[in-house]
């Protein structure tokens, strides 16, 4: 046997579940200190002219779409599947999670082109999670649907992986 330098896969999974705290942070109560409830997440759409990227820290109305049927802040995201952590070798692993349902904006009119969605934690001060881009779209009295990739080690929407 030999030891192998690596990040523990279980740790990555626990990160997705808020299981470690290396520094101080201000949190909204998750009800219980020992069995905290899951946070809620939302998805907001951003104009093609906006600057939404890795530097985002919180949800912002700046650059967000607006139009009939769309409420600022976007829609709730269903996270029905708990994060999974899987080892692929002694040195590699992946922790991942994907919303369990499509994100749908029903009967909206979004006349100005948009091409990005921000996922954010609406429980913890609207803190930013991830930005996903797609081809520029407009919607007229219609429905915009974002369907999620399969929740696997290689395609899950949000993945933490060892190098």
């Amino acid at each position: 046997m030999a030891n192998t330098q690596s990040m523990c896969t279980s740790f990555m999974g626990q990160l997705l579940n808020g299981g470690h705290q290396f520094g101080t942070i201000t949190l909204t109560s998750r009800t219980s200190l020992t069995a905290p409830t899951a946070d809620s997440f939302k998805a907001a759409l951003y104009l093609a002219s906006a600057t939404m990227n890795a530097s985002a820290t919180v949800y912002t109305v700046t650059g967000e779409v607006s139009g009939t049927g769309y409420s600022a802040g976007g829609v709730a995201v269903t996270m029905g599947t708990v994060p999974t952590a899987t080892n692929s070798s002694a040195t590699a692993g992946v922790a991942f999670v994907t919303p369990s349902a499509s994100i749908t904006y029903t009967t909206v009119t979004l006349a100005t082109a948009f091409d990005a969605v921000l996922l954010y934690n609406s429980t913890q001060g609207n803190t930013a999670v991830s930005v996903h881009t797609f081809g520029s779209q407009t919607i007229s009295a219609g429905t915009f649907t974002l369907t999620m990739p399969a929740n696997t080690t290689s395609t899950a929407l949000i993945r933490l992986a060892t190098t």
Partner: protein, 64 residues
């Protein structure tokens, strides 16, 4: 009779010109449908299937 939600209210689909399209690349598979009335776009819906995840690489650093 199929009804379509449009900018002018519910309309019979047979009164409208329907256009459909799709985009398939490494990032997404997108389909869209449009309904036009006398040259005016009165309905557009789109469905984006995301293909790519956003990943974060993590590493346990060496000493020294």
């Amino acid at each position: 009779m199929a009804l379509v939600t449009t900018t002018k209210g519910e309309m019979d689909e047979t009164l409208l010109e329907k256009k459909e399209g799709s985009v398939d690349n490494d990032n997404e598979y997108t389909t869209w449908v449009e309904y036009w009335l006398e040259g005016e776009l009165v309905h557009r819906s789109a469905h984006v299937q995301l293909k790519k995840s956003v990943g974060l690489k993590v590493e346990a650093a060496s000493f020294g």
